[in-house]
């Protein structure tokens, strides 16, 4: 009897903990006190004032329902990782990304296999599957994280702004202002392919000289390149986020221009940090290229000088691209949304 009672108490404690841990801190104590007095009342009712057995406790807890459900009723809101508003889009982007990863990996690894050292073909095939599978999981993870963040951020906005006014419905966008779905989808596919090349076969970025022997001079210092990969991947991920915003907003407007420019500023800073400094570029590029048989340095072209300027050129291209996209976004955003 004593033992029964002890177990019952323990069950109640565990139940209360399971409910209250899912609730905001400031409500926990009060709800716990109230629920515990409720459970006592329900038990007293069941046993007509007698000593409750463990099965009585179980019956009462079953009647109260699953802890997670009870806690959800107290919270009054549903928690979503990715809610119904985003789920359709999430599935679409996920399919595109996974298809691009699988297809792109195949291409990238084939190129890598053809360009690189000719290893054992069976080892390559085995490696292919394990690399593709881990890449697919990573892609799945990244897309899910991106959407979960958007869900969290937007769920907050929705709560603050609940009423709407039909007069504030956005105008039907002019034909030109609409963004066709194919553009962002192509953008995502392209980004994923580029990401794969960077991650799986960075060796393709180099000069392949098919003379009597196949010589290869990498453009990047591959050690530094690998250490920078996480940052480079952040830039790719941001670029996918950009395309997702294009898919959601579906038209050129100021909001989209501001969002894209904000993302672009972050991407630009990272790109400049990674590529506009000499460290990532192959320092021995010139000596290696001169060693290649059959290669003749053009007389009127100072290759060494230009190679030393590559980080600078690259930085200029990145800034130029940034300026062009920013201007385009704002010009389209403003021009297509002026009154008719």
């Amino acid at each position: 009897m004593m033992d029964n009672r002890k177990n019952g108490k323990d069950l109640i404690e565990r139940y209360l903990y399971a409910v209250t841990k899912r609730l905001p801190k400031e409500q926990r104590d009060d709800i716990e006190k109230e629920l515990s007095s409720l459970i006592e009342d329900m038990l007293a009712d069941k046993t007509a004032g007698g000593e409750p057995s463990q099965s009585d406790v179980e019956a009462v807890l079953l009647e109260l329902g699953k802890p997670a459900e009870l806690a959800a009723k107290y919270r009054g809101t549903k928690n979503y990782l990715i809610g119904p508003d985003y789920f359709g889009l999430y599935m679409m982007v996920l399919k595109i990304v996974l298809a691009a990863v699988a297809g792109g990996m195949t291409i990238a690894l084939t190129i890598g296999f053809a360009a690189g050292a000719r290893d054992d073909i069976f080892a390559s095939i085995g490696g292919y599957f394990s690399t593709v599978i881990s890449a697919l999981f990573q892609a799945f993870g990244w897309v899910t994280v991106i959407f979960a963040v958007m869900q969290k951020y937007n769920a907050k906005i929705d709560k603050e702004d609940t009423d709407w006014n039909p007069n504030e419905l956005p105008e039907v966008p002019q034909e030109k202002a609409r963004i066709k779905k194919s553009e962002p989808i192509a953008g995502i596919v392209f980004t994923v392919l580029a990401m794969l090349l960077f991650n799986a076969v960075p060796e393709v970025f180099g000069i392949h000289w098919f003379g009597e022997v196949h010589s290869y001079i990498p453009v990047f210092d591959l050690t530094v390149f690998r250490s920078m990969l996480p940052l480079i991947n952040v830039v790719f991920a941001l670029s996918i986020v950009k395309e997702i915003f294009r898919l959601i907003i579906e038209k050129y407007n100021l909001k989209l221009a501001v969002i894209i420019t904000t993302i672009n500023i972050i991407s630009l800073l990272i790109t400049l940090y990674v590529f506009a400094s000499p460290a990532i570029w192959n320092a021995d590029f010139i000596t290696q290229i001169q060693a290649v048989q059959g290669f003749e340095m053009p007389a009127d072209f100072d290759l060494a000088y230009h190679w030393s300027r590559v980080p600078w050129y690259f930085g200029c291209i990145a800034v130029f691209g940034f300026v062009v996209e920013t201007l385009t976004m704002f010009v389209k955003g403003i021009r297509y949304n002026l009154g008719k």
Binding site: E40, E63, Y74
Partner: protein, 114 residues
């Protein structure tokens, strides 16, 4: 009626019931009551409500300032008593009018087919 139809009716009935829970609870709180006493008195009067539904509802109504609450610690066990606030009384009366008007209209509708 087939089992499927019965299930369907059951789900419609519980949907109807859900809308009436708030007004039922408010009706019982002219004088202070604690949660479980409310479960019992409602059940006696033919409106069964699960504690797991009622307790969160009481808290929500309190947050919406229809109810006020107080812990009563002098008895054998501490209990939280809820009672209608002034605002809650006003809203309850208003809800009663709405309910009467609604049932009247609805009765008319279903009597057309009687």
């Amino acid at each position: 009626m087939s089992e499927e139809q019965q299930d369907f009716v059951q789900s419609l009935v519980s949907e109807l019931r859900r809308g009436t829970i708030t007004i039922s609870v408010l009706s019982q709180l002219m004088s202070p009551k604690y949660g479980y006493a409310l479960v019992e008195s409602l059940e006696e009067k033919g409106i069964p409500i699960e504690p797991g539904t009622l307790y969160p509802l009481l808290r929500r109504l309190e947050k919406q300032e229809l109810l006020t609450s107080e812990w009563e610690t002098t008895g054998a066990k501490p209990r939280k008593y809820y009672v209608l606030s002034e605002n809650g009384k006003k809203i309850y009366r208003r809800m009663c009018d709405e309910w009467k008007a609604m049932t009247e209209s609805l009765n008319k509708l279903i009597n057309e087919n009687a």
